[in-house]
Structure formats: C-alpha cells, structure tokens
Symmetry: C2
Subunit: 138 residues, 2 copies
C-alpha cells in the first residue's frame, strides 16, 4: 500500500483533490480530468489516473467499482452505499445505516475471509423516471 509520508504535495494532487471535494457527484477519471484541466490546462490524463489511484490507495478518496464501464471517484470516505440510475448512469450516495451484521452472515456462507461489502442499488433517477413515463406510451 502507498504510504502517505512518501507522497509529495504537488500542485496536480492538490487541485485534483480540491476539485473532487467540490462536487457531490461521483465523477469518472475523465470527468475529473475535465474539471482539473480548467485550472491546469497542461495536465495529462495519465497523471489524473495515477493520482486518483494513489489517493484511493491511501484512503484519501474512494474508488467506486460500480456497474457501468468506467470507475468513479468519491471524496466522501465514510462508509456509505450508492444508487446508480440504469438509464443515465448517474451515481448518488444513499444516506442509510451501514448494515452491520451482514459481513458475519456472509463469512459463514462462504470460505472467504470477508473484509467488507458494498451495496449498489439500481433504479431510475427522478429525471429518467419522468421521461420513462412519457416514452412508455408506445
């Protein structure tokens, strides 16, 4: 695991973290790149990937391995769950209590050493639910 102590405080890292803290959405690496590029036009996409990965390893941010084709990143590091819109792919936090007991239940049901879990709810965001109604007339 990456150690915090050996990690230099570069402009790139500061700005990536700042931009991630600004939003409540869960941007993809490419979206972070776009956000950061407004302030640092010469930053490379590779740098963004490298640093998001590094920050996720140190626990500064969360890397969400949710459905869809791209990984997403989240500056809220306290444990919580997510909803993903099946239509547009948007991901939001869910403010509900973490299900404490289920790791133990799972551990008894398999031969893995269970270290954690993540729940991803799927559904339709308010926008997509609305337009779904309109188009479902055919």
């Amino acid at each position: 695991m990456q150690e915090l102590t050996s990690m230099r405080l570069t402009t790139q890292r500061q700005i990536i973290l700042e931009e991630l803290l600004k939003v409540t959405s869960h941007p993809t690496a490419n979206e972070v790149y776009d956000m950061v590029r407004k302030r640092l036009p010469r930053i490379g996409l590779g740098t963004v990937y490298r640093n998001l990965e590094l920050m996720a390893e140190t626990g500064m941010i969360l890397k969400l391995e949710v459905g869809g084709t791209q990984k997403r990143f989240d500056a809220t590091v306290t444990p919580h769950y997510h909803v993903r819109c099946m239509e547009c792919g948007k991901v939001d936090d869910i403010k509900m209590p973490v299900q404490e007991g289920i790791n133990e239940i799972a551990a008894q049901a398999c031969h893995y050493q269970i270290l954690g879990h993540h729940i991803e709810f799927t559904g339709l965001c308010s926008n997509c639910a609305r337009s779904q109604q309109k188009t479902s007339i055919n």
Copy 2:
C-alpha cells in the same frame, strides 16, 4: 428489451449457454470465448459478446457488474449475492438470504425509483488468504 420470441436458436447460442451452465465460476466474456472455442473453433469473440449481452437482456443469464476490469456472467438467475477476492479477482456466489427490506429503506433515503440492489462482499479467497500469511512476514 430483447424479446425471447424473436431470438433464433443458433448453434453458437446453444453452446454458449451450455458452457455457462457447466461452470459454477463467473467467467468473463473472454473465458466464455475460450470455453466455447474448444467446441466451435471458428466462433468470433464478437459473437460471444453479442450473445452474452442478448441473453442478459432476456434474463436467461446474469451480467455481473462487479468490481474489476471485466464484466462477468452467471447462469444462476435466482437473486443472490457475490464475493470477490481482492487478490486474484475470483468471484463466487454467497448462499445467504436476500435482504428483503433494504430497497424500501433506500427508497426513503433518496429520490430514485429503486428497482433492485446487489451486494458485493470483498475479501480473500482461501487460496489467497493462505499465501497472504506467507508473504506478510516482511
């Protein structure tokens, strides 16, 4: 959504489904391709992708949007959860009751129309847990 009625029963589709039913693992598209190719050497990878996608749409199989870089496929369509080994990426089923109430809890905690959920446990499979012990002496 793809309709079952308009889906032709081709050799390729039969064999892909047969091979998927044979295993309890959760193969990636490429692993399915390798399995199927032993019986149908001229099948194209594109055909495998197209058909896995189609079968997932009709509900014949499950497409697992779990962590890691590749999608995985599962012939067990009854609702169940998964464990993924953080070390080797292996995915297994967990035989534990589906948490019935949590969709309602989530629905009250956000503005989505909740349609379902999936729980992914993370940990170490028995193989990796063992070798972890050996290497952790440094």
